[in-house]
Amino acid sequence: MTDKPGNRRYHDMGGLPAGPVENDDHEPDLWEKRVDAMMVCLGTSVADGKKLITVDEIRRVIEDLPPDAYDTMSYYERWVHSISTILAERGVYSREELEAKLAEVKARANEQASEGAAP
């Protein structure tokens, strides 16, 4: 027998015990809809004759998550992690640019929160 269970990659869990399936419908949050829309835009946009992102790349980055992150991140958290990793890989922006933008957005959110809290 050549099967070596120790070499199975974590995400490749077809056929393993998984417990009950939750069938409850729920409305996606606004940010989740935005991530979905961003994925569609990037998957249909072409630069230098290539799509900006492929679903195969998205899957590859998600599959490379360590098991604890794979288990605890939500569906769209995995997507947004994957999208941001790929766009940095492809040089659409640098890590520094992404971090600067995130800091700017956080500062704006804090400002809005403190304005909202004022009497």
Partner: protein, 96 residues
């Protein structure tokens, strides 16, 4: 050009250590099945996953496996099957 035709007996190659993005589920590797249909040729997802062009396109087949082949302790009907779409490089001909 497709190497296999419907009805051909095949076995998934026993590659349990291929790194990176792989489109062939772990549980069907080294398992025997039958070609159910040829699906056409498609860009290779295992290279598209690394921002390559995925060329040359690879023949894709729908392969039918008996549940009892995949899961030795399967408790359902003897005629139960699973069909999995698998790219040609993952398949080899077999007489079994």
């Amino acid at each position: 050009m497709s190497r296999f035709a419907p009805g051909d007996k095949v076995r998934v190659i026993a590659d349990f250590t291929r790194p990176g993005h792989v489109r062939t589920p772990w549980y069907c590797r080294d398992k025997a099945g039958v070609i159910e249909r040829a699906c056409g040729a498609f860009a290779n997802p295992e290279t598209l996953a690394y921002a390559k062009d995925g060329l040359p396109k690879l023949p894709l087949y729908r392969v039918r496996f008996a549940q009892r082949e995949l899961w030795p302790d399967y408790g359902g009907g003897a005629g139960d099957v699973v069909e999995i779409e698998i790219y040609e490089p993952w398949l080899k001909a077999t007489e079994e």
